[in-house]
Symmetry: C3
Subunit: 263 residues, 3 copies
């Protein structure tokens, strides 16, 4: 294992990511492993504090790597009581980060073998930058030793998956829902009615009903809204060369209800 990937909401206009990379390389230097290790950027543009966004990006990228060390940091409550964890997947990945739901989707796909609680105190971290002080160090240690040892946990924090909702809006404005391929049975060309529900904090509830054509490729929908099963197996609402999320004015966690197809 010589790969360590980074997924954060740190952006790339800061020194945060550089600090993590420097730390990892420094720690592998002693064993002369730094020549072999590959530090691979997955994303540093996770929306600040948006755990759903991070969870979706991990799902769509990690399974394509060979078993590797994956550090993920989207951590609104850094410095609080939340745990830091290492999850070993069935095929042998090590997922390192805060225990706040970030790993929900990817662990569902890859399976879990062991869960460890990281003893944060051991690393005397600053209270604001666990990515550098804990996760980068733990990641480098796993690469060095080829394993992780620590207090076992029985479970880890997971995002709710029962309620059907918008779990991601991509850079093109495509709306990704947590409705899976096997939960729908439409055929090419079907006109589908979908209800989108937005709940505000003050309990105002806004509903809108949209129609979209069930297709295979983005370019099939030159004039209409389309929906399709995307390359991850999720139902996605899109508009060809346009921004569906802005058109519909929807956002993360808005609820989705499939109302059936137009006859």
């Amino acid at each position: 294992m010589n790969i360590i990937t980074l997924t954060t909401d740190f952006g790339t206009r800061e020194g945060y990511v550089g600090a993590m990379k420097g730390k990892i390389i420094s720690l592998l230097k002693d064993k002369d492993q730094d020549r072999d290790v590959k530090i691979v950027d997955i994303s540093h543009e996770i929306e600040p504090f948006n755990i759903y966004h991070g969870a979706y990006v991990l799902l769509t990228s990690i399974p394509h790597f060979p078993p590797s060390v994956h550090i993920a940091v989207v951590d609104p409550t850094v410095g609080s009581e939340r745990n830091s964890i290492v999850i070993k997947t069935e095929r042998g990945d090590y997922l390192v980060g805060p225990d706040n739901g970030l790993f929900t989707y990817v662990v569902k796909k890859l399976g879990v073998k062991e869960i460890f609680r990281i003893d944060e105190e051991k690393y005397s971290p600053s209270s604001t930058f666990h990515g550098r002080d804990i996760y980068a160090v733990v990641g480098a240690e796993i690469l060095k030793e080829g394993k992780y040892e620590g207090e076992r946990l029985r479970d880890f924090v997971k995002l709710d998956e029962v309620k059907k909702k918008i779990i991601h809006i991509d850079r093109f404005g495509n709306i990704i829902t947590n409705i899976k391929k096997d939960e729908i049975s439409f055929t090419h060309g079907d006109e589908i009615k979908i209800k989108i529900i937005h709940k505000q904090k003050n309990k105002i509830r806004t509903e809108k009903i949209i129609k979209c054509k069930f297709v295979k490729s983005y370019f099939e929908g030159k004039d209409d809204l389309i929906c399709l099963v995307n390359s991850e197996g999720f139902l996605e609402i899109s508009k060809f060369m346009d921004n569906a999320s802005k058109l519909l004015n929807v956002n993360y966690l808005d609820e989705i209800e499939i109302m059936g197809k137009e006859k």
Copy 2:
């Protein structure tokens, strides 16, 4: 050859780029080539669907690498009838991507040796993500084998270069035209008149005439618009520490006409 570069309009807030990197590393793992391979990010911030932007970025970066595998994905019609191609340059690069004009400029500079059509069906791709399902795989295969074999093509799609126009606007707002160094004959300090023509879809045509000083370095134009031959040999319109494209309210593909110098 151990380098593979990536240029896409995927952005870095998604898992798309991570998925491509993971795929490439996975495929080279078998032959233990993954330790040597360098995956180099050129850009993932090509404007969505802007083939001109992508073409300019490839021109300005690829020639500086030693002969390498270069994957480029700006692909508005993914899943349609457009071809996928591999172009081998005279010096031995392999350019991998959709056949939509992306490689126009860089191939003009580096010369073409062979053109191949990629047999997309062979890769049973998803209909939305050829970057991961086809191009990453083809790129990894070329690194593995040191060559590409497939159906030969006689030609590939090229962007129009006859009409003089804005082909790129960079992050600083500098306006890059496809007017080459050898098409102009100005000397340092000349005051040049340039007409910029914007054609809207409804056939409204807006013209504006600007004056700019022909200089060598950005900082020479503290108060005026300047133009200079940039490091790629293209005529560029700029304003020192300011955003020329916003000042002039111009955009990609606006036409450019050099009206001569002020006497």
Copy 3:
């Protein structure tokens, strides 16, 4: 030494960074050193021309690397009379870039051993892109030779550090000042009064006085402005899951005056 880092204000929507990477790899190819070298992106999203921003990012990242070659390009006056320099730090880093203050903070932390002026003419650079034509080449040469030889300088340009001010605003809107840990003596929970002074070019001076709670972690300030000593030892003004700089409408170089704590 096999690491070369890049920090620029070039953004990643251009070919600039790719050109630098290509150049470095090409130059190391001859000696077959390209397989070992690691080109590490620190940041390409330094605010255009913002030397303070660049200086802070270098400070927060470079010390975490083992001694390496670090190229930094934030260079508003490229092509003018400003020098290009190589600074060797006490522990053996080589800092390569324009002599405009960029290296102030990191050199203060790491110490200076030698300073060299780069003979720019030797590289017959384009007048607009020294990052590719000079700094990438110098960086590669240092990796190749393991040292740098050139005209010695006695000193280099430094940013002013006497006046207390905002030196960085991070992606989350956290406001970082150049007030150090040892210049303040507050205890957890103290309510602190801070004056922020904004001077406009027309000499209009705007003052605002804010109160903020002195804490250890971001999440402690659910409702109030907070301030804390950040992981670099600087006083930082923040708001939990909110953008403090937008809330307060402050910017780089606004002056900061600690007025003491509320009794």
